[in-house]
């Protein structure tokens, strides 16, 4: 028994809209779908007439539909936009090389210029090469951090006013959930905004913010749009996967939950005394960063020094790695003397600087100095404005490991606890908590915007 289109147009309905529950025919669906995106664009004032806009194109369903709809709306409503496609070639054989073919198809179909930027050209490393170094566990961190910056660079080269990305309603709801589950308030606050970008950076906009994934796929299907649909060969992301599965299960029971989660995310207010990282420019590459040196530069430095895990694990591990690296390079007695002095200083007071002292023994080496600066920044932040958890984050990292070991020893041998550094005690309460948070951040940090995940990230505390 065919169901008729709810608009009364007399046609047979082809789908039930998840957002409204309406049964619509093909044409009425196209109209509703496109018009809603048009409203999203005009209400959010995403573009101005005459602007150049780069569409971040991965060849997947979202960006393919975005490119198609943007072209349609640009013509229909006379946005007067100069649209172009921007793709990032991460250098993942069997994944990106195939999907780029789809993007080239988009270029021809939609008659838009296409710019492809490769990790190899930008950073000197392909993802294949990075994975060969780092293994498959943390490569998403590299990929996501690099991609975010690569898009910025590409947009700068194309001289566009903004970048439109294909994030859909499901993605955003999923990210809200993820950020709640990780206690990541900074991202929770940002992730629902339709336009992101601080001063001096090229803003990103999400025209598909309120568009359901189901409708995107149905639209692509009925319009016979060609898109590429293979999971990235490297990374099925566990934590995001769970958030996604949970969301899909809930959507089945109550489809409006996706809009509701976005609404919750949008209207949630962050308490005033919660300190958030401020955005600034990386001293090295001059791109936006929350740290003195951006995550991309830290990761890259790790790769180039043969320490690929630098910037991935806990900061204490990174520091230890740098220490080892540096101690291999330098053995002079003078240096050791300085280190002794530093160690002495640490014991005497400045509780969080032990690693700082060690990693930058002399202050001569340029790169080491960088890390000292990071530490300094972190410490400053820790000492001055953080009222809550951040206060302990950095120092705990270091103490954590020590603590577990020490505790085990204590249990085994009943050694008096007071042998510990005095600074530890007050931090101790937070240790397990932070440990978990850190671990999740580090292991499940999931900034892939191309395929496995969505939100870019530069905010992971190093």
């Amino acid at each position: 028994m065919p169901v008729l289109c709810r608009t009364g147009c007399g046609e047979k309905a082809v789908l039930k809209r998840p957002k409204t529950g309406d049964a619509l025919c093909k044409n009425c669906f196209y109209h509703a779908f496109e018009t809603e995106i048009h409203y999203t664009i005009t209400k959010g004032e995403l573009f101005n007439k005459g602007e150049s806009v780069a569409i971040a194109a991965s060849g997947g369903k979202d960006s393919t539909v975005l490119a198609h709809v943007m072209k349609t709306l640009n013509k229909r409503y006379e946005y007067g936009l100069n649209l172009m496609l921007l793709s990032i070639d991460e250098g993942i054989t069997g994944y990106r090389d195939d999907s780029l073919e789809t993007v080239k198809q988009n270029r021809d179909d939609y008659e838009m210029p296409l710019k492809i930027l490769s990790y190899k050209d930008l950073y000197g490393w392909t993802m294949d090469e990075i994975v060969a170094q780092i293994g498959r566990k943390n490569n998403c961190t590299f990929c996501g951090v690099f991609r975010r910056q690569a898009l910025d660079r590409g947009a700068a080269m194309l001289n566009v006013k903004c970048i439109a990305t294909g994030h859909n309603a499901d993605d955003i709801a999923e990210t809200v959930l993820m950020n709640v589950l990780r206690g990541d308030i900074a991202r929770l606050k940002r992730c629902t905004s339709i336009s992101t970008g601080s001063e001096g950076t090229i803003p990103r906009v999400k025209p598909l913010k309120y568009t359901y994934e189901k409708e995107i796929v149905m639209y692509a299907h009925y319009k016979k749009l060609v898109y590429f649909s293979t999971e990235c060969v490297f990374a099925p992301n566990a934590y995001r996967g769970h958030a996604r599965a949970l969301l899909k299960d809930m959507e089945k029971i109550r489809p409006s939950c996706i809009m509701d989660i976005i609404y919750s995310g949008e209207t949630m207010a962050v308490k005033e005394d919660v300190s958030l990282p401020t955005q600034r420019l990386c001293v090295r590459c001059k791109f936006v960063s929350s740290q003195e040196v951006c995550k991309a530069c830290v990761l890259l430095e790790g790769l180039n020094k043969g320490l690929p895990r630098l910037g991935i694990g806990k900061s204490s591990k990174a520091k230890k790695m740098l220490e080892e690296y540096n101690s291999k390079l330098e053995h002079s007695a003078k240096e050791r003397a300085i280190q002794d002095l530093n160690d002495h200083k640490v014991i005497n007071g400045s509780d969080k600087c032990s690693s700082k002292g060690k990693s930058c023994k002399s202050g001569l080496c340029k790169s080491k100095k960088k890390y000292t600066e990071i530490d300094n920044h972190v410490n400053k932040c820790c000492n001055s404005d953080c009222s809550g958890r951040c206060k302990c984050n950095q120092s705990n990292d270091k103490e954590n490991e020590g603590n577990t070991k020490i505790n085990t020893l204590l249990e085994q041998y009943g050694i008096n606890e007071s042998s510990n550094d005095s600074g530890i005690d007050q931090n101790k309460l937070d240790v397990p908590n932070n440990d978990i948070v850190e671990d999740l951040l580090n292991q499940e940090e999931d900034p892939c915007s191309g395929s496995c995940g969505k939100m870019g990230s530069l905010q992971i505390g190093f």
């Binding site: 169901v3 047979k12 309905a13 082809v14 789908l15 039930k16 049964a23 991965s58 997947g60 369903k61 979202d62 960006s63 294909g166 859909n168 499901d170 993605d171 994934e213 189901k214 995107i216 796929v217 149905m218 299907h221 590429f228 649909s229 293979t230 999971e231 990235c232 996604r244 599965a245 899909k248 299960d249 959507e251 089945k252 191309g450 395929s451 496995c452």
Partner: protein, 108 residues
């Protein structure tokens, strides 16, 4: 009971779970013989999924099925229309029906 031929199609990444074959024509056996325990004579999507699991889905069925239905996030189209308009699992399969499975769960 006359023969029941259906066309199964897979896209959006769902084909990856079915030997990367996007379209196949299959003939379903007599239901009373295939699943005698359920005491039904007409194939619905519910039984089709069981048959697909037994005959087509070689590995990792959890990526396609959840409970007695498809995994949420996999869209089902019956003759190019949303199965939500046709009773989902209870839809009675007709000879010559085209049933399509589109995954929304694969990369974007």
């Amino acid at each position: 009971m006359s023969q029941l031929k259906v066309i199964l199609q897979f896209s959006g990444g769902a084909e990856l779970l079915f030997d990367k074959i996007k379209k196949r024509e299959v003939e379903l056996p007599v239901l009373e013989k295939y699943l005698p325990q359920i005491n039904k004579s007409e194939w619905s999507i519910r039984e089709l999924l069981v048959w697909m699991k037994d005959n087509l889905l070689k590995e990792r069925p959890e990526l396609f099925l959840q409970g007695d239905s498809v995994r949420p996030g996999i869209l089902v189209l019956i003759n190019d229309s949303d199965w939500e308009l046709y009773g989902e699992l209870d839809y009675k399969i007709q000879n010559g029906d085209a049933i399509m499975f589109i995954s929304t769960l694969h990369g974007g």
